[in-house]
């Protein structure tokens, strides 16, 4: 794999060449300061896989004094930062709306606030503040939502952020980063924090599900070149989709997988290519069917006059069964194996002659 390089640091070592192999590049990336100063050049998971979200955020904050870390008293992911950041760690107590408003004020003064709360509370309780104070003003506030989607496990519907994508993508200027695992969270964070736009970050520090390709905002990670089925997904469900892909391929079905990484901006090109080059698309998300990925794909196809067969896997007008993660996956039919079986069943149904045939999962 080769990366385009053009920077003074490499020139110093007489490497003013256009491209270098990844192996050599990796050594140069040992210094995170360098990475942060070059958000356009992105990280391979191996580089940072020993770094936690908290450590990465701390390094970013150490390098860039504009960064302030805020929380509405949700410190799970940033427990060690108060001592290290001093006044740049601001805990507003259980006041999601006020935290976002204050973040807007800090951003007016040139800061980049990285705010934290559970995904439901930051996107719902503070929704109007995100829309009105961050969105209208287009301020670079980053909103990190903890335990989104099925990661809320046994908390119950109060904590199920499964309309968060729908809400956040509806706000002009607000982008969405939904990492597949801890590696991707850390790989994407420098670029997302450095980006001028406000971001909703669907926090996911789950164990690594794969070796990721270089992160780029707006560019999906495409696994495989399969032409039978394309799985389109984001966030935690990437791991189960990978398992589904393996199971389908074992059954002779060729599958490509699109890990969107940023749900907004979405990789239009990759989705349209998948529609053109495969027989059936499957959108997989731990989100309501309405307003999330399935809606994004549907809007895209209408806009581009694409006819495609799409199987959506999502929660259709209902919350999911509260339980521990593995049990939720099994109960809701969301394990990789179950997803593969659902897809096999769908493929067994003759495709209607009249074009698009979308069927909701679990009906």
């Amino acid at each position: 794999m080769e990366f385009p390089i053009a920077d003074s640091r490499l020139k110093k070592s007489e490497q003013s060449v256009a491209t270098r192999s990844f192996a050599t590049l990796r050594e140069d990336f040992s210094d995170l300061q360098y990475i942060i100063a070059h958000p356009g050049i992105v990280l391979q998971s191996q580089i940072q896989n020993k770094m936690s979200y908290e450590e990465c955020l701390l390094e970013l904050a150490r390098t860039d004094e504009r960064i302030v870390v805020m929380t509405a008293e949700n410190r799970a992911a940033i427990r060690n930062l108060p001592d290290k950041l001093g006044g740049r760690f601001i805990d507003t107590g259980i006041t999601e709306a006020t935290m976002i408003g204050a973040a807007a004020g800090l951003a007016l003064r040139g800061r980049i606030p990285v705010t934290h709360a559970l995904a439901t509370f930051i996107t719902l309780r503070a929704f109007e503040f995100i829309r009105t104070d961050v969105g209208i003003a287009n301020l670079p506030v980053k909103m990190v939502g903890g335990v989104p989607g099925i990661l809320s496990e046994a908390n119950g519907p109060t904590h199920q952020a499964i309309e968060d994508i729908s809400l956040m993508r509806g706000i002009p200027n607000v982008n969405i980063f939904a990492p597949a695992d801890a590696d991707e969270l850390v790989a994407g964070l420098p670029a997302v924090v450095a980006d001028r736009a406000p971001y909703y970050i669907r926090y996911n520090a789950s164990a690594s599900v794969m070796n990721h390709t270089a992160f780029e905002i707006g560019r999906a990670e495409v696994v495989g070149t399969g032409t039978d089925v394309a799985l389109i997904t984001y966030g935690f469900m990437v791991g189960e989709a990978l398992k589904a892909r393996a199971a389908l391929e074992a059954n002779g079905i060729s599958v490509r997988l699109l890990n969107l990484r940023t749900v907004k901006p979405v990789d239009v090109e990759a989705i349209l290519a998948a529609a053109e080059e495969t027989e059936m698309l499957v959108t997989i998300e731990d989100h309501f069917l309405t307003g999330g990925l399935y809606s994004i794909v549907a809007e895209l196809f209408l806009r581009h006059r694409v006819m495609a067969r799409v199987l959506p896997i999502a929660f259709r007008d209902r919350w999911f069964t509260p339980a521990m993660l593995d049990d939720v996956l099994r109960r809701e039919g969301l394990t990789g194996e179950q997803i593969a079986a659902t897809i096999m069943n769908e493929l067994a149904v003759a495709q209607p002659t009249a074009g698009i045939h979308a069927q909701a999962f679990s009906e």
Binding site: G87, T92, G93, A97, T98, A102, G105, L108, R109, P113
Partner: protein, 289 residues
């Protein structure tokens, strides 16, 4: 402490405020505006921008300026009138009120020089002001952050969150000002959601308060000259005001919140500003939203 205002200074402030009120009445013609709340806080804005705030048209992006946030954004005609009188915008620009070709509409926005942040949804700008005050503290600045709140706006829960947070962070560079005109949109505050005793509420939240006549430049001068009321604590000034102040035929009226004046009514109110009663308004030109 401030030196006392001289008679001349006070009269100059009154003259400026009169011109601002004339602008407000003019902006209430055509598509109309929120005239009652604009007239109630006009004196406060004239005093703050003329005498108190460390800000001027030539230092709008100076990080060491004082910040004023208008959280009850529907009184923006008073702000724009003040800006026109003090050189932030040309007076002629006020004639663009509600024109699609300018940005002078019913709520403030940052396209107008001097406006620090947009508002219109109540209960937002205390939190935004807290963010600015926190940053000024972080950088060791000495400038202050003022936020004008409506009394009806105090119904909003985020105001009380903000009161807690500002106290927690000991933001003595933050000053709240309540335009206490005793009205919600359609009804007296004490009839709907009673607010009194206000000083006791704010004091219990750790703020230090003063209560003044919001139309007395002398009282403003004394109160604002003592800020912060206590080191390490945010300050709240409750300014008792009169909705519709300056135009007796719309003062203290629940049904004179948002008005659209025809030219004859505008002239009647303009005369009232100058102390002359010249007739009754034709009520069908007035409406409540």
């Amino acid at each position: 402490m401030n030196m006392p205002l001289t008679e001349l200074e006070e009269s100059q402030l009154a003259q400026t405020a009169l011109r601002v009120r004339e602008h407000i009445v003019r902006m209430a013609t055509g598509g109309g505006c929120f005239i009652g709340a604009s007239l109630s806080c006009a004196d406060l804005l004239v005093y703050l921008y003329s005498r108190h705030l460390g800000i001027s048209p030539d230092r709008l992006s100076d990080p060491d300026r004082d910040y004023l946030f208008l959280s009850k954004g529907h009184d923006v005609p008073a702000l724009y009138g003040t800006f026109a009188e003090l050189g932030y915008i040309g007076r002629e620009r006020l004639a663009n009120h509600l024109s699609p070709d300018d940005h002078i509409y019913w709520h403030p926005n940052r396209n107008i020089p001097g406006v620090e942040f947009h508002s219109g949804s109540l209960g937002h700008l205390l939190s935004v002001a807290i963010g600015v005050a926190l940053d000024i503290k972080l950088r060791g600045g000495t400038n202050k952050v003022y936020v004008i709140l409506g009394d009806g706006e105090l119904n909003e829960g985020t105001i009380w969150e903000g009161l807690l947070v500002a106290n927690a962070y000991r933001l003595d560079n933050l000053v709240g000002i309540i335009d206490r005109n005793e009205f919600q949109a359609n009804i007296r505050t004490e009839e709907l959601i009673p607010l009194e005793p206000l000083e006791a509420k704010f004091e219990a939240f750790g703020w230090r308060t003063d209560r003044i006549d919001g139309h007395s430049f002398t009282e403003m001068h004394n109160a604002f000259g003592r800020l912060p009321f206590e080191k390490g604590r945010p300050s709240m000034i409750i300014a008792d005001t009169v909705r519709g102040r300056g135009c007796p035929s719309i003062e203290w009226r629940a049904d004179r919140w948002f008005v659209k004046l025809n030219d004859a009514d505008a002239e009647i109110l303009m005369n009232e500003l100058h102390g002359h009663t010249t007739g009754a308004l034709t009520s069908e030109t007035l409406m409540v939203r």
